[in-house]
């Protein structure tokens, strides 16, 4: 079971417009002990993020109306969500696209096609671990 220092389950928000992929990711994460909230598009994703305050967000980029970069920009602009690590999970992989994501403040930029759900969970853990270490350092 995946928990935080507070003892509650780690909450992951998946923003992905492809239902099948969303299902696979959430199932795998739940099995591994995460609490999962889902959103099917950018607008919903941002809404969920500000009301649920997840511990980490998996964010697709190509989304209808409000795309992933827009969501990321808004997340980083809103003090409530500013510190939530965002892992971009996208099929975009051109250099300038990765740079754009990182410039907007993403914690990692993962390419969907290259990674199995297992590897994605590992990446999520890696990001969380790194974050915890940094926070520990900061509080110490």
């Amino acid at each position: 079971m995946e928990t935080l220092n507070t003892g509650r389950k780690t909450k992951v928000l998946i923003i992905e417009d492809e239902p099948a992929l969303r299902d696979i990711y959430s199932t795998k994460l739940r099995i591994d002990g995460f609490e999962v909230v889902e959103a099917a598009d950018g607008i919903e994703g941002f809404d969920v993020a500000i009301h649920h305050i997840p511990d980490i967000i998996l964010l697709d980029v190509v989304l209808p109306i409000k795309d992933g970069f827009e969501v990321l920009k808004d997340l980083k602009a809103n003090p409530k969500t500013r510190d939530i690590p965002v892992v971009i999970l996208s099929n975009l992989g051109q250099g300038y696209e990765v740079k754009r994501g990182m410039a907007l403040g993403a914690a990692a930029f993962l390419t969907k096609a290259n990674l199995t759900p297992v590897q994605i969970v590992e990446e999520v853990r890696k990001v969380l671990g790194k974050l915890e270490k940094e926070r520990g350092k900061a509080s110490a």
């Binding site: 950018g42 795309d67 970069f69 409530k80 300038y96 740079k99 754009r100 994501g101």
Partner: protein
Amino acid sequence: MDVLSIIGTVFNEMLIAVISVIAFTLLVREYMARKSRFLVLFATAFAIHATAMVTLFFGHILGAYGHETAATTALKISPMLISLEGFFIILGSTDLLAGKRRGFFQALGVILALLGLAAVIFGPSEKVIVSGMTFLQFDASMLTVTLGTWLLSSIMLIVLAGRRMWNDGKEKRESSATDRILLWSGVLGALFVITAIASSAFGIKFLMPLNFIALLASIALLMVGAAAAEHPDPAIRKRPVTLYTRSLVFKAVALNALILWVLALALLAITSSYFVSSSVDSRHSNLRRDLHYFAKSYSSYSLSLLEETSRFAALPDVVKNLAAPSFDLESMPDIVSDFMQKRRGSRILRVIDTDGVITYSSYSPTEIGKRMLSSRVLEKALAGKKLAAVEKEETFGIWTVRAGVPVKRDDGTTVGVILDTDVETAFDFSDYSSISPIYAAGYGFVAENGEQVYTSGGAIDALMRSTLQKRLGIGKSTDFKTDTALYLAERVYATDGVPNGFFYIYLTNEMFDIEVFRIIAVVTVLVVLSVVFMTGILLFGMTVVLRPIRELRLAANRVGKEDRYDLRVGYKSPDELGQLAEAFNRMQSTIAERTTELKEALREQEDFLDHTTRELRTPLNIFRWTLELMRFGDTGRLNKEQLELLEQLHQTNERLVKMVQNLQDAIKIDQRKLALRIQDVAVEDVIDEVAGVMAVPSRKKGLALHWNRPKVPMPRAYADRQYVEKILANLVGNAVKYTPQNGHIEIDIEETNEASPGGKKGKYLKVTVEDNGMGIPKDQVDRTFSRFFRASNATGGEIEGTGLGLYLAKQVVELHGGQIWLESREGVGTTVSFTLSTEKPSSKPMVAKQA
């Protein structure tokens, strides 16, 4: 008489000389303006041509006045000059057209020129007189060598200009007009050489007019082609005639000069035939008169000889002595010997007795005792009658004037005869100036029996002698014309009235031709000089009269180029130009006023726009912040539909903000207030950013956006990063907007040495955005960068835009010292490129449009 052909030749030579001088003057003027070496070379060629023509002309004149050596020299110098001229045309055309192979052609030119000079100096030539004009005729091969440089220069013009036209054709360019003109000049030049050889060396006379026309046209074309070649004004390169048609003075003077020349030609044709006929008539009548006087003087000489002899015969001593058995003149008294001594050596005095036997001879004592052979004068004298006539002197076998007088006693019986002969003086024409070799081809005396007695310059044949004799049978004198000459003849009589023979003079037609030429040459020189003089006066007058036009043109040009609406033309006169100048000045005032008003109105409008956009910022920000509050859930949770509407509103608002920013930039640029913050910018990073922003929109549209980032870092550009981003965002945004689904967009960057193709040199970065979108219609490409431009295939459709983006991009790029340009084909795609300098600028701040 071949008056027209003489006028044709002389006038042509003068005309070509004058046109060569004009060509020389115009090319020198052109050279003064732009200092291209080939202009001087061609000008020199024309100067030489004019000299050659004048030399040729004076060669004819010298020939006509009998200065053989001078004429030959002049006639040799002329083709030498022509050879030299060809050499200068070769130099000029290689300089203009040949490029790298110049040296080869010029060396060939030198060789041909030397050969040509040698051919004239050492080659065989023959002096011929055609229609009274002296020419030097070379055989075909010598003439070809002499005209070798000309032929080579013509061939070179054809080949070199032709090669350039061929290359233009291969590269699908329109060939240059000057090349075409030079090519034709070469063709006509070659035609001139060929017809010259054919007509002069092979005597194909009907080619002469063609020869002249070819030369004239070749010179005229060469003049225009050379003067317009590489001219800085593209309008002149396109239409070389503009060089001359653009000047009103030139046109007016040219028209007048043309009329003068035509008049001169007509005048020459009319007056010279009049002068010619009167001169020939007077020459004829002078000769006729002289011949008549000569015949008369002959008669009076015969009479005086007879008179002298009679007085001698009447002396009492002579009579007494003759009656004695032997005649002894020496024993006679002084008076007789005085008489004898007074006689010249050419006189022979003989005393003959009644039996016809010589009893005394002043020529030789050996004649004494001999019988005098038959002589009409002797027979008459023996019969008691005096007579003087032309007779053959047997002792010398020559024809002489002889006087015979009977010596009579007081009772009237004849005791003997005195025969007095002058063997020399009778036929001497030398006192008569009109009968000189220049004017008469030959003259002489023919005895009654048809024997040619005395001749000078050339005898006449037996047929002509008998013809003249027959004609003289009708009258005392006759004029007789044949195909080749004019004959004048006058009958002379013995003192008893019996025909004795005739004097004749003849003139060949050639002499008449030369006379005609002399007259025409003089008239031509006068006419040409007066036409040139009048043209000069015209040119001067026209320049003075039309000076205000020049002033008006200069003023109008400056107004057009420099927007100087304060300029006024100072010419004041009630004439048309004065009115025009006044109208111009009035117009200027009106324009100046209107411009001020317009600028004022425009400034007010801009101020208003500036103010409005400023005012717009606050409400837009209020929108933005309010929307953010709602979007970020600070005003309570909204349902999905509300959130979607809110998102649309937010995106629209952001677009509006951007549009207002663009508008403000445009106003700043127009008011020259846009200040750039120049720093060194890694343009690749800016492209990264812009491509990142455009990534999702292009993905959503199914476009492949390739940004070919170089592996090695490019030099940094000196620019305002914010504006570079704006430029790029606009270009890539346009590409995404105007490229349909599944299209592709490429962004490239490279270093370059010029601000734009063929533009300012320097170190630059060139960014290119290429798409395979809808493109811009060909007729609109030029306007793409103008304010509010939107291509016709983009308006009215579903694609939005204000048309301000590219205008701003251009202004900003140029403000940076770079260039922006665009290639587009409708339905194929568009490529936009711009450059930014990588050289550190001077500290001067960059502000839009330096005033």
